[in-house]
Symmetry: C2
Subunit: 272 residues, 2 copies
């Protein structure tokens, strides 16, 4: 059975998508074609969206599921004419919230992101620049400015995690790759020692590491079973010996690695 699902918003569609994806993931036996329609902020666009929904209903021979966060009631009315099962995300919760808070909703389009953005734009940009400048151990002199320094063997997930922490939370995250020399040393590299409290380790299952490295450098020593098992074993030993908190990234998404690190370390987000 196949259904079309629409995430429709007068803004970016990020909220409708996040919630819609989570809900649909609960129905493993239904296959969904997912379509996001952002910036549906005029009656004209709403009519076109409704047409698109009706077409999908015809093709699928079953009405699509619509998750929407459209605030403007006139625009929404035109969307509602469609042959779809509508889930009105904002509408459902705004009324109970109004009565609980004893305040009226402003019904402002896309205000959430606009407000959050203005206040935090510079912090996020600064944090992204910090992550880029302090990626892969290239530069180590700014470590005193860092909120966190991720360490781990090559391809254990350090860079995407730093970037996500910067983008999402405005956290200044540097990363330092543990090389074979560092591993032979069996100690935390000298450069890192003054920053011990900010250091967090990543590890990964050797089998997964072999796979990832083979995509980069097929059949190399770097991607060999022997090398990957050796590096991971030694690095985990080092984390334990040096009492560095660490996380195995194998089964987690970038978002999960990042949020788990925040819980484990207690570092605070820099943007609301």
């Amino acid at each position: 059975m196949k259904r079309t699902a629409f995430f429709i918003s007068d803004g970016t569609g990020i909220t409708a998508e996040a919630l819609g994806q989570s809900l649909l993931a609960q129905f493993k036996n239904v296959q969904f074609d997912k379509i996001t329609l952002p910036y549906i902020d005029t009656v004209e666009k709403a009519k076109k969206a409704a047409e698109r929904i009706n077409k999908a209903a015809e093709v699928d021979e079953v009405r699509p599921v619509i998750f929407d966060t459209i605030i403007n009631s006139e625009v929404r009315q035109h969307l509602e004419q469609c042959n779809g099962f509508m889930i009105d995300i904002f509408g459902t919760f705004l009324e109970p919230l109004e009565s609980e808070l004893g305040a009226k909703s402003s019904y402002t389009v896309g205000s959430s992101h606009a407000i959050v953005a203005q206040a935090s734009y510079s912090k996020r940009i600064d944090a992204i620049n910090f992550a880029l400048e302090n990626d892969d151990g290239a530069v180590t002199k700014h470590y005193s400015e860092a909120d966190i320094i991720l360490v781990g063997v090559s391809r254990s997930g350090k860079t995407p995690t730093c970037i996500y922490l910067a983008l999402q939370y405005g956290i200044k995250a540097a990363n330092y790759p543990l090389t074979e020399d560092d591993i032979l040393d069996q100690r935390l590299p000298k450069t890192l020692q003054p920053h011990r409290k900010k250091i967090f380790g990543l590890t990964i299952d050797p089998d997964r590491l072999i796979m990832i490295r083979n995509e980069r450098a097929p059949q190399s020593r770097y991607a060999s079973q022997k090398q990957c098992f050796y590096e991971i074993e030694e690095v985990e030993l080092m984390y334990r010996r040096e009492r560095i908190p660490f996380l195995n990234s194998t089964h987690y998404s970038i978002e999960e690695i990042s949020t788990r690190i925040m819980v484990m370390t207690g570092i605070e987000r820099r943007v609301a």
Copy 2:
């Protein structure tokens, strides 16, 4: 009036946060202290969360607002004992969805992110690496691989946009800074000409550019009013002359710039 708002989840909390933030932004006259509690996946953790909520209720002298996406009913029950106004995000929508889809929800914790993640992890990582390797015009030889190439003057928002496109959508985005030489030329730089169809321009209000550049290089020629006005004027002329689609990034968040570019260009996301 001040209220505490909690975003609580058995997973990352990203969905609860995205929806909660959007809803709270509709109440401009209420001030919220926002707290995210991810990974509340045991009765023990739920009890602790409930205690924390009760404490906030005491301090604020008004019950907090709770947005939660906890699936496990036993865990959720213990949370519900708290003195808070609970908004059960998943619960509200799962039942109507079940009857519309004629299927049972699997009530699986954090499954949304896990599934999406496994399928798309490599694509996202590849795209992030691509964005880093092809940032700031350093390398131009991979442009034929790019899904999009952002151009614009220094500090117009190219890098964070490329990174967001990669992280969120798995899109391979390169960026190329338009320098004074390029501007004097009044034409699209030679390196870019073969890739004309993939090129998208960013621009920014000169006053905002002056501010941003002054943070980097105070009182420099680079940050001067004259220079910023000149660069922006010439670049926008060039976009028009060369018929390059472009966007003014001044009033938008990174997410908005990115989603608007996707709408304007029609490029498709590479991950679900």
